[in-house]
């Protein structure tokens, strides 16, 4: 709990952060930058978990512990995504989204 800051302000902040991430996800053309947008989204979600835990249910620790899991997953996901990106780069010498559209055929 932060002195003088209500849950509304923090949730507003995380919402903004989340949608900035969504915007990045929509508009970026490069796989790595899209991955970065996903990091933003995940961060917003993790903060939300912690905030709701501490402000609303301080007696339980579910939110706090799940934020740890989220970070672990985010790290793992990043590692895997980058492995895929590098492999893809080997195949098509590009990490642009438009070069990965072959799946539609």
């Amino acid at each position: 709990m932060i002195e003088g800051i209500s849950i509304y302000e923090i949730l507003t902040l995380t919402s903004i952060l989340f949608f900035i991430g969504v915007y990045g996800f929509f508009t970026r053309e490069n796989l790595i930058t899209i991955l970065m947008s996903i990091e933003l989204i995940l961060n917003a979600a993790a903060v939300n978990f912690v905030i709701i835990n501490t402000y609303l249910f301080p007696d339980f620790l579910q939110g706090a512990i799940f934020s740890i899991f989220i970070i672990a997953l985010a790290a793992a996901e990043t590692a895997l995504a980058i492995a895929i990106i590098i492999n893809l780069y080997k195949l098509v010498t590009s990490v642009e989204v438009r070069d990965t559209e072959t799946m539609k055929h």
Partner: protein, 175 residues
């Protein structure tokens, strides 16, 4: 004091997040992302959840960002400028985002949250006990699941990144 700090962090987060998703230089975007992540860890400090703040700094600030930078350096020139997204896409995305954001904010701001008063800081030892406890309210099962998942992802990442030796066919395609 804390209030001021929060607003500083909030402003940092929003500004650099926007910069991170709109910068046309990829390495700069990564650095902006690093700043956002650090500011988020600042938020955790403010809530008195020091353990998570530390994790945030080490795993994100240390691990993830370094990974991303490495991959950027592997596949791009440092000074490479990203392509400009078509304006049409940008407008549609912005409209969607604004609509989503407004409806989310509207939902949050109109909902009467019952804030509890018996606030206590989250201590590392409690977290550790909870993670390994198999009694009521223990998290041993998700913990184990996550560890298995991490292992699987490690193996998977290595195999995928090795690429060529996985299948001879892909190798042939390259040549």
């Amino acid at each position: 004091m804390e209030r001021i700090l929060f607003y500083i962090f909030a402003v940092l987060i929003v500004i650099f997040a926007v910069a991170s998703v709109s910068s046309r230089k990829i390495l700069r975007a990564v650095i902006y992302l690093l700043i956002v992540l650090t500011a988020v860890s600042g938020l955790y400090f403010l809530i008195d959840y020091n353990f998570l703040a530390a994790i945030q700094l080490t795993v994100y600030g240390g691990g993830v960002i370094v990974l991303i930078i490495f991959s950027v350096l592997l596949v791009h020139h440092v000074e490479l400028e990203l392509e400009i997204t078509p304006l049409k896409t940008k407008i549609i995305a912005a409209a969607l985002v604004v609509a989503g954001l407004s409806i989310t904010l509207w939902a949050i701001l109109t909902y009467p949250f019952n804030t509890a008063n018996n606030y206590k800081s989250i201590e590392v030892d409690v977290i550790g006990e909870k993670l390994l406890s198999y009694g009521e309210g223990g998290f041993i099962l998700p913990f184990e699941v996550i560890s298995v998942l991490l292992f699987a992802i490690m193996v998977g990442a290595i195999v995928i990144a090795k690429g060529k030796k996985l299948g001879i066919k892909t190798g042939e395609k390259l040549e």
